[in-house]
């Protein structure tokens, strides 16, 4: 173990329904969505029209500003529908699978051993894997024209009920190693992988070569790559780093070994409303309908009102409420199913016990039962108010950042202050816990998102 970094701040939300290490089913989606909204900073230009045949790896969209950046279909079949929203905004491209899974041919394996940085870059761009690499600051698609200071990969996800990546990536060691070999040619700063102190010794990532392993100890958000970067080599003004997840790392390896655009992955289906939480093997963009039967949708009454079920692509902190008719996002390793909170609880705020509720505040008693898991729901547990209480966000943000001042700088649209107070170092997911604990119920991730958009606009 090189250098263990202990993070004391943070919180593991004790949510019921974590997935057991077992593949419940392997899904070959009949229909699959490619969502431009998954990619921050993408200005999509359609390359196909309804009815076109596609293979896995056929470009369906390109970025208008940077047409080298291609978004590709993960599946072979035909383009069934192009879904647009308000102002004709492109929402998703639905592709009907032909179940044959034919791949576009890539020449990547030829450059695996001796390819130059330029060759690897262009292989990643033309294969469609490029947009899965994000850059910091801001978490947008990496800019191929810039060399990053370093590349960071988090080897574990500490979010509530998130997939155990040691398990999910079990069969991908070789692919991940090939990915690292390629990526390490793209930067002089090296490829850095963060692992958790409790599991790192047994983690397959521990044995990866040509990557720098960093060990973190502490609760969520220790697994957030942004938090890890902050403690390994913080981002200062003018610097760029790249980040990617392990799925992308393995997909890069697959491209270089087999020459295929293969995004197959193992993701967790978890949450209090899943009958038997476990893993599934699937492609990103899968319809949640295909796992709808795993959800416990028997009608439940909470506090005298009937509550529904929420289907989330992603975890409960950063995921999208896509609904049972929606499709999974490309960066999500978890599908969470949980109860809605559309009930009215009489005098809830003054009840002394509320044993079904969780709080980090000691005005409740959940701290007495540290091992209890909760069947939480989506109720706001209060109304939105002005910022009143202080010192709460600080408890769950393990970074040398003054969160309240940063948020207020964003609300005031004060660019200098945002820059000075650390907007380069965080993206939405890093402050998700601040939003969870906020007694004023402020939408912190939304605030940060606005701040990042302001910065992108002003700095370009």
């Amino acid at each position: 173990m090189s250098n263990k970094i202990l993070l004391r701040k943070g919180l593991n939300i004790p949510l019921k329904g974590s997935a057991i290490n077992q593949i419940a089913r392997s899904i070959s989606p009949d229909i699959l969505a490619v969502k431009p909204t998954d990619f921050k900073g993408l200005n999509p230009k359609l390359l196909i029209k309804e009815g076109d045949p596609v293979k896995a790896g056929t470009p369906v969209m390109a970025d208008k500003k940077n047409p080298e950046i291609l978004i590709c279909s993960p599946v072979s079949g035909i383009v069934k529908e192009i879904v647009r929203g308000e102002k004709r905004k492109l929402l998703q491209i639905l592709i009907e699978s032909d179940k044959r899974q034919e791949y576009e041919h890539s020449t990547a394996p030829e450059i695996r051993k001796n390819g130059s940085a330029e060759q690897i870059k262009s292989a990643l761009l033309s294969s469609g894997l490029w947009p899965l690499i994000k850059q910091r600051p801001y978490g947008t698609i990496a800019d191929p024209a810039k060399e990053p200071k370093a590349i960071f990969i988090s080897g574990f996800d500490s979010a509530p009920l998130a997939a155990d990546l040691d398990y999910a990536m079990k069969g991908d060691f070789e692919n991940m190693q090939a990915g690292i070999d390629a990526l390490s040619k793209l930067t002089h700063g090296g490829v850095h992988i963060g692992l958790h102190a409790d599991t790192f010794a047994g983690s397959p990532m521990h044995r990866l070569e040509r990557a720098k392993i960093h060990v973190f100890d502490g609760p969520h958000p220790a697994g957030n790559v942004g938090v890890q970067i902050h403690h390994i080599s913080p981002i200062n003004k003018g610097e760029t780093v790249w980040t990617l997840d392990l799925y992308t790392l393995a997909a890069i390896g697959r491209l270089l070994i087999k020459g295929t655009f293969d995004l197959r992955r193992v993701v967790a289906v978890a949450g209090p409303k899943v009958k038997s939480p476990a893993y599934i093997e699937t492609l990103p963009g899968m319809a949640l309908r295909s796992i709808a039967d795993m959800a416990d949708t028997t009608s439940e009454v909470r506090y005298g009102d009937h509550v529904g079920v929420r289907f989330i692509s992603g975890n409960v902190l950063t995921g999208d409420n896509v609904g049972v008719d929606g499709y999974t996002g490309i960066f999500h390793n978890t599908i969470t199913i949980m109860a809605e909170g559309n009930y009215r609880e009489m005098f809830g705020w003054i009840k002394p016990l509320r044993a079904k509720k969780f709080s980090i505040s000691r005005s409740y008693f959940s701290w007495l039962m540290p091992n209890k898991k909760y069947n939480l729901d989506t109720n706001l547990n209060g109304g939105e108010r002005a910022f009143v209480v202080t010192g709460v966000y600080e408890k769950v943000l393990p970074m040398d950042i003054l969160p309240m001042y940063l948020f207020k700088a964003i609300l005031a649209e004060d660019i200098d202050k945002m820059e000075q107070l650390g907007i380069y170092e965080i993206i939405e997911e890093d402050v998700a816990l601040c939003e969870f604990v906020c007694p004023s119920k402020a939408e912190i991730q939304d605030i940060v998102s606005k701040g990042i958009n302001i910065m992108i606009k002003e700095m370009s």
Binding site: N236, G319, N321, T378, G382, D400, F436
Partner: protein
């Protein structure tokens, strides 16, 4: 419960936008959310939220104020009994105090909440819970004989000038409750200083025992009459004249334990305020001539007057206090220092706590500014050394 829900559902359209009484929408909402935690669910961002909200936070503070309030009621009767040389029982004294204090609380809440509701209505906001605490604090830092009309005026001043002009809860610079007291202090000085006003009935001069003064320990100390001061134990438990809620350090400490246990008040501010007070007291002890105010045992400062009450319930107000964790240490410490300095060196007013907190409220953003700047500098240096 079901019946109530139905009733609320039935009258809700009347109070919603477009309804007959739609202009009372904020007021309706306040009552509805008082009865039921609303059925609002998370829309964007996180899907689950902690169960703490401002209602619960404020409720905890009010619960923490209860020991001080109950003792204050009892002490009102006790002091009155002492002044007339009566022989009231424990319950008679409590009941006497209860009847004297209750109107103050009712007036404070009715007037203050009335303004809050109107302000929320005008802004179209939901009603904020901040006044629930302020409304309890104000009577507790008033003398029991304060006329109700003065109390009303001070509440109006505190809520409008102290809070609403700055944009409402969360935006104010000074602690509204202290502002109300400052208002009475400067506008009606005779109502809040002197020896007669702290004990019910004393100012109207009804049947006082010969030689009974009614002066607070602070007044004795300021006058240099150290022999007349009550014992440390009496001051700690609270059998002394003073504002309703401030006399019993013991009762206040019970509240402090609740606030610290629940983590609602900052332990940093509380601790550093007491530290600032005692260290200043000790310093004065070291340099002060024998028999002077400066030489009074430093520990007495903490149990006299409003020091403990201010440190526990006023200085820790998160809105008007320092908002950075480091700033909280400095802010609290300086409150303690200033309070003692004003007490000892300002002959005009024996109590320094109110002015010390208001002063540091003013400087809290200034303190925070330096903490924020040091964070910024540290971050910049990080870029340079790399």
């Amino acid at each position: 419960m079901k019946v109530l829900k139905k009733l609320v559902d039935n009258i809700k359209p009347t109070f919603s936008k477009g309804g007959k009484l739609g202009f009372l929408h904020s007021t309706f909402d306040a009552f509805e959310t008082f009865l039921f935690v609303p059925d609002h669910v998370t829309k964007k961002g996180v899907h689950i939220k902690d169960s703490i909200d401002l209602k619960r936070t404020m409720t905890m503070v009010i619960l923490a104020l209860m020991p001080a309030l109950l003792f204050g009621m009892y002490n009102t009767g006790y002091q009155h009994n002492l002044s007339i040389g009566g022989d009231m029982t424990f319950w008679a004294m409590f009941w006497f105090g209860f009847l004297k204090v209750l109107p103050l609380i009712i007036v404070s809440y009715v007037v203050g909440l009335g303004i809050e509701f109107i302000a929320a209505q005008i802004r179209g906001h939901e009603v904020n819970e901040g006044y629930l605490v302020t409304g309890m604090l104000i009577p507790l830092i008033m003398p029991v004989d304060v006329p109700l009309w003065i109390l009303s005026l001070s509440v109006i001043f505190a809520v409008i000038v102290g809070k609403e002009v700055f944009g409402g809860t969360g935006m104010n610079i000074w602690n509204p409750a202290l502002l109300s007291r400052a208002f009475v202090f400067f506008a009606y000085p005779s109502q809040i200083s002197g020896d007669k006003i702290w004990i019910e009935g004393l100012s109207s001069g009804q049947g006082i025992v010969d030689g009974f003064s009614g002066a607070t320990p602070l007044a004795h100390a300021a006058a240099g009459e150290f022999d007349k001061m009550p014992s440390f134990m009496d001051m700690f438990i609270g059998f002394i004249p003073g504002s309703i809620g401030e006399t019993s350090t013991l009762a206040i400490l019970i509240g402090a334990v609740m606030l610290l246990w629940t983590g609602i008040a900052s332990w940093k501010i509380m601790l550093s305020t007491f530290a600032g007070g005692i260290l200043t007291g000790l310093l004065l002890n070291a340099v002060g001539p024998e028999g002077s105010y400066m030489s009074m045992p430093a520990i007495n400062h903490l149990v006299m007057g409003g020091f403990a009450f201010g440190a526990v319930f006023m200085a820790t107000d998160p809105v008007t206090g320092s908002q950075t964790e480091r700033g909280k240490w400095i802010y609290g410490f300086l409150i303690g220092v200033m309070a003692i300095l004003i007490r000892v060196f300002n002959p005009g007013y024996p109590e320094g706590m109110m002015l010390a907190i208001l002063l540091l409220n003013t400087f809290a953003p200034f303190i925070d500014h330096f903490v924020v700047q040091s964070n910024i500098k540290r971050r910049l240096r990080r870029a340079a050394v790399k």
